[in-house]
Symmetry: C2
Subunit: 221 residues, 2 copies
Amino acid sequence: MNTLYHYPLSPYSRKVRLCLAEKKIEVGLVEERYWEQSPEFLRRNPAAKVPVLKMNGRIMSESTAICEYLEDVQPTPPLMPRDAEGRYEMRRLIGWFDDKFYHEVTSKLTGERVYRKVMGRGYPDSANVKAGARAIKFHLDYMAHLLENRRWLAGNDMTLADFAGAAHLSCLDYTSDVDWNRHEVVKDWYAKIKSRPAFRSLLADEVPGFQPAAHYADLDF
Amino acid sequence: MNTLYHYPLSPYSRKVRLCLAEKKIEVGLVEERYWEQSPEFLRRNPAAKVPVLKMNGRIMSESTAICEYLEDVQPTPPLMPRDAEGRYEMRRLIGWFDDKFYHEVTSKLTGERVYRKVMGRGYPDSANVKAGARAIKFHLDYMAHLLENRRWLAGNDMTLADFAGAAHLSCLDYTSDVDWNRHEVVKDWYAKIKSRPAFRSLLADEVPGFQPAAHYADLDF
Ligand SMILES: N[C@@H](CCC(=O)N[C@@H](CS)C(=O)NCC(=O)O)C(=O)O
Ligand SMILES: N[C@@H](CCC(=O)N[C@@H](CS)C(=O)NCC(=O)O)C(=O)O
């Protein structure tokens, strides 16, 4: 049995969950309160981060490396463009979401609202929340700019870049931090990806003490 | 003419410089004081980060996406393993260096010592420097653990993972933050990579106001 150690509102875990589900690779999900650094978890991943995937006896960390590996060993359905330019664009966007977008938006909104509390580290830092709320606007504008010329984020096919983006936005949506009215194209893109069977498990996530936004699991918003 | 917009002590820029040099792709280097956010630079990369590569008329950002692209379009010499397991391990390590290692070590040592000053943001935060000095020990131990069983970081061939690691360690070496006596295997690995022709341009870097460590450019330490 394959196991994914994850945390419900971890965008990196969600990217891997989407990839596994699209490729129909079955995994058991184990929720890992990684900040408690249980000795067992540290043994599995000395970096003490989620996600960690246990598959065929191997233990793997780093979400993008995991997704590329899954694509290598199970190429159908394809989640990467076949040409070098397309793959570059996909990887650029994954990097942009997982570095820039995460640090400027996800960690400052979902991070402050949920993580602080579940980790017992007090109240959200309002300067961070404000900065995140400002930054998400520019970043949604950038996504709209991309989607005005393409069907999916990295081109005309759905790729891992869409999963990276949807992983972050779905965490932010849980905490009601996305203004879906800002750009019709972004909303349409998200509705498309949210209605995929692979998304169901994300929509069923619950973090005790935090109600998701009313429309969080609603496929028509 | 290809151009790389970079900053001398940016580990992400250094990784790309090593990759370009190994593949013998000529580029002009343009030093970019990215924190000044010149309108021209922002036009090239809205993420306002270095490195940015201008190649054959395209403008590219995100260091790992760039390196994978270069490998795709110019496969010789190969800088990635050919098997899925090897590629996974390489990508995992690149992720580990560019996320975990950067945030816990490079940004807290080289970042505090050099960036603060060149950016005009005051003195190093000594709590950060202390945390970085503590963390680098564990991380060097981890590298030694890998290198005790392999010739290079991701396996028996040199890969982009070695460039990622050497990019960070060379920045830290500039600021005298690496205790090379801690592990013979790590020192040997670094000496091997440092003596490659591709490394020369890094060893010639100079940041005004900061002398590199005496042994920084010495191929025998
Ligand atoms: N580069 C890692 C990042 C994973 C990551 O940062 N996960 C967060 C949860 S969203 C975490 O475990 N943080 C713990 C820590 O940074 O110590 C990946 O892509 O898997
Ligand atoms: N994920 C990016 C990271 C690049 C990066 O963070 N570069 C630093 C310099 S070492 C930078 O430009 N920082 C500016 C910023 O974060 O705004 C990559 O791999 O290229």
